[in-house]
């Protein structure tokens, strides 16, 4: 039976205990994030022999997290009203456990895969450019291009309000021609460096170096703050992979496959 979680501290203590026992998991939230999820009533659990599932409820989907004891397999999932998204992170050099096949046996299908790449700031040849930050007037245009360019289930798309905040705080760069938007780059600052969240170029402006210009703008915008630039890129997007490799980005070994179980 699926039960809603109501005590964040108890839940966090359970997480730490499970981690110390070496259980397999895709649950990598911080204590603060765990407490918020419980407080908002967004997380529920389903216990089974050898493990537990946690479901995080979002508007049109459930995100699935699990803990599995050693040698145990995932249990069949109950039928839910919305698609279930399973996103994992593992090292490319290590065997993926549970395997893709194991998840397919209980109804999941491969959806996509991303890998993480990084570039140390000291290795960047900065160009002389003047980065253009987005303004509130083109919020709608950027929001539309963002939602047209990315798949809806695992792209961490911001709400319009969150995007507006990022625009106001100068975390969205744009490329314009004759005052028309050609593309944008949305980034965030983390303790370890600057993370590229979304980059998109209008279909008719592709192949003109707009994306490369936006990357250079990002480097310049965070030149004095970030020691490292990071991003996740879909492994089925060769043009993007080529562009990042050309700029010196290297894989750090982290791979994130995403699977989906539809109703």
């Amino acid at each position: 039976m699926i039960k809603q979680l109501i005590d964040g501290q108890d839940f966090w203590a359970e997480i730490v205990k499970r981690l110390s026992k070496g259980e397999k998991t895709n649950f990598f939230f911080s204590e603060e994030e765990v407490l918020q999820l419980v407080q908002k009533g967004k997380i529920s659990r389903l216990d089974f022999d050898g493990g537990v599932y946690f479901f995080v409820t979002e508007e049109n989907l459930y995100r699935l997290y699990y803990f599995l004891e050693k040698e145990k397999s995932p249990e069949v999932l109950p039928r839910l009203q919305q698609p279930i998204i399973l996103e994992e992170v593992h090292l490319a050099t290590k065997e993926r456990i549970p395997s893709k096949d194991t998840w397919e046996k209980i109804g999941f299908q491969h959806y996509l895969e991303r890998k993480r790449m990084y570039l140390m700031a000291k290795n960047i040849a900065f160009e002389e450019r003047e980065p253009s930050f987005a303004t509130e007037e083109i919020l709608e245009e950027i929001f539309l291009l963002m939602n047209e360019s990315f798949e809806p289930f695992s792209s961490a798309l911001p709400t319009k309000e969150a995007l507006l905040k990022d625009i106001q705080e100068q975390r969205v760069l744009i490329s314009l021609k004759n005052q028309n938007l050609l593309g944008f780059l949305h980034f965030g600052d983390e303790k370890q460096g600057s993370m590229l969240w979304h980059i998109a170029v209008l279909p008719q402006a592709r192949g003109l170096g707009v994306g490369e210009g936006l990357l250079q703008d990002w480097f310049l915008a965070r030149k004095d703050i970030a020691k490292k630039f990071m991003l996740w890129v879909r492994t089925d997007n060769p043009p993007a992979l080529r562009m990042y490799e050309k700029h010196g980005f290297l894989p750090d070994g982290r791979v994130a496959p995403v699977m989906i179980k539809t109703t």
Partner: protein, 75 residues
């Protein structure tokens, strides 16, 4: 120490482990790294890392990680 460095470099080739003494506090190691590292250390050194040991101060530097490993081996 060599085994530990090998594990760390394989886990995070982009991190300077020798000089950074605030690996967790500076954000270089995140929760995925810690979880992976716990698994690797248990296997490589045949130890058990209890819940009470999964705290930032035990993972902030190569020396701190090694000290924890040695302590747990002696327990």
């Amino acid at each position: 120490m060599d085994t530990l460095l090998k594990i760390l470099v394989e886990l995070r080739p982009d991190v300077d482990f020798e000089d950074n003494k605030e690996l967790v506090d500076s954000g270089e190691l995140d929760s995925f790294d810690i979880v992976s590292l716990v698994g690797e250390l248990c296997e490589a050194y045949e130890i058990e890392i209890g819940a009470e040991d999964i705290v930032p101060e035990n993972f902030n530097s190569v020396e701190a990680i090694m000290a924890m490993v040695v302590r747990l081996q002696e327990d």
